[in-house]
Amino acid sequence: MTDQNSTVGQSADAVAPPPPRDRNWADAWRELKRAPLSAKFGLLVILVYVFVAFFAPVLTPYGESEVVGPAYDVWSDARPLGTDNLGRDMLTRLLFGARNTVGIAFVTTVLAFLIGGIGGIIAATLGGWMDQLLSRVVDILMAIPQLIFALLLLTIFGTSISNLVIIIAVLDSTRVFRLARAVSLNVVVMDFVEAARLRGERIGWITLREILPNILPPLAAEFGLRFCFVFLTISALSFLGLGIQPPTADWGSMVRDNATLITYGDITPLLPAGAIALLTVGVNFVVDWFLHKTSGLKDEH
């Protein structure tokens, strides 16, 4: 790890112009072709989900919460997956769910990385009392199980999408903080950071230009894992009826609303749950491959 960081560090810090863009793309393409089957499968899954998320309204003739027929209608040509508990088209809501559920989880993860990543780098760069303060706060936040803490905070602040995003982002940023701090500590002691300090660069420059580029690979892998975790947490909360609220189409709440069908042997309610599972498996496969490629970093959960 130290090895790799130092080589990456020197190349990032060098004055030489960056390699031309198209060579980067060619490299990436070659890597991709050599990727194991599981990683290719994972990438394909992610691409399909992103496509569906962007084009959901075009892919279906019905509206997101439009009532199109009787409740719990069976699968038919007009409505391939039948209707849900209120007579809304199941396939339509499944497609829109890609946009809502995945979108919200993505925004939450980005927010968690902004909070945790910046906090972690600052703690590692400044050290001293700032590091102590931030680290102890994170220790305390991590002492309470995440789901329970989220439930407590949702009771206090009420259930809304913005509250949900902020609460989960803050709670999840603790793990990002730990990782960002740990990998930054390895970089902070390098000579090129010392040189930047002696040049009199400001803390913002050191953080963004010297440290950040060198800790990106482990952070990128962590982004995948944290996304899965956030995605599962939000789905669990929605399933409990405390996350994304109706009439927004969301996979967790769709399972909850239609769960009765399972007792009649109908698998329709399993589809949104399967959609969640498929995406997390896909992301995990890609992250696994990425970790293998970049470093010997182990995943924690």
Partner: protein, 312 residues
Amino acid sequence: MVAQRLGLGLLTLFVVSLIIFLGVEALPGNAAEAILGQSATPETVAALERQMGLDLPPHERYVKWLGGIIKGDFGVSIANSRQISELIGVRLANTVFLALMAAIISIPLALVLGILAALHRNSLYDRAVNVVALSAVSFPEFFVAYILILFLAVTFGWFPSLANVGPETPFWDRVYRCFLPAMTLTLVVVAQMMRMTRAAIINLLASPYIEMANLKGLSRARVIVHHALPNAWAPIITVIVLNLAYLIVGVVVVEVVFVYPGLGQLIVDSVRTRDVPVVQACSLIFATTYVLLNLTADILSILTNPRLLHPR
């Protein structure tokens, strides 16, 4: 070392209780207003506040709240004005029963699977188990639960899909009714424990004394079970205890799926009605269990490692 860790654990518990208490302080309005509703006059609110002790300053109330909890008095629910300790009692026992049952099934299973995977490293079995484990970690709990319901309860009808147990349900009937929820929890935690067991053993297989054992001509199984396993206990115990901590939390979703009358169901219902004292009480119980289990994991890993037990 152990004493220091114990002290730190107690401090954590104190801070956690403080957070749970203070979080509620941040609420606009208070419990008295919530109970009396919109139409309450300021006088009735003030009277109820006095009766509930809400007119005291925060630190005195915190001491009173914590003192009450230590004696088993969690206060009164806003939603139905019942004693919270009464609501919690049976449900806590139910939740502990379910978590224990899952633990009793999953721990031996994970150990055996992990040891077998280490024994037949890189075989087809090893790789298959790994893929299944990786997938199981990424499935949402309710997905696993509903798949089990679909197959074992609906298609074959072997087990009930609802785990409705009462206080007078006989023991074996209770075990039977809890089988599917316990199975769900097992599937969710076994993967992690199994992977850790395998990794801990494989880590040791490179050490010289294992090579010595191999050179003596001992069988592979004997080398792993008698030579590698004793030294792998520390990380394995840690991961087992951490997974027990996870069980306590994972129980929330599973209880809702199977309509099991446990603490998880209670906290979810209370969050929905914003019954703050009940959520507070449940969070405190969950958080305390979690902190204590994490503490146990730390202390066990110190106790099982002579190098940590006698630091230079």
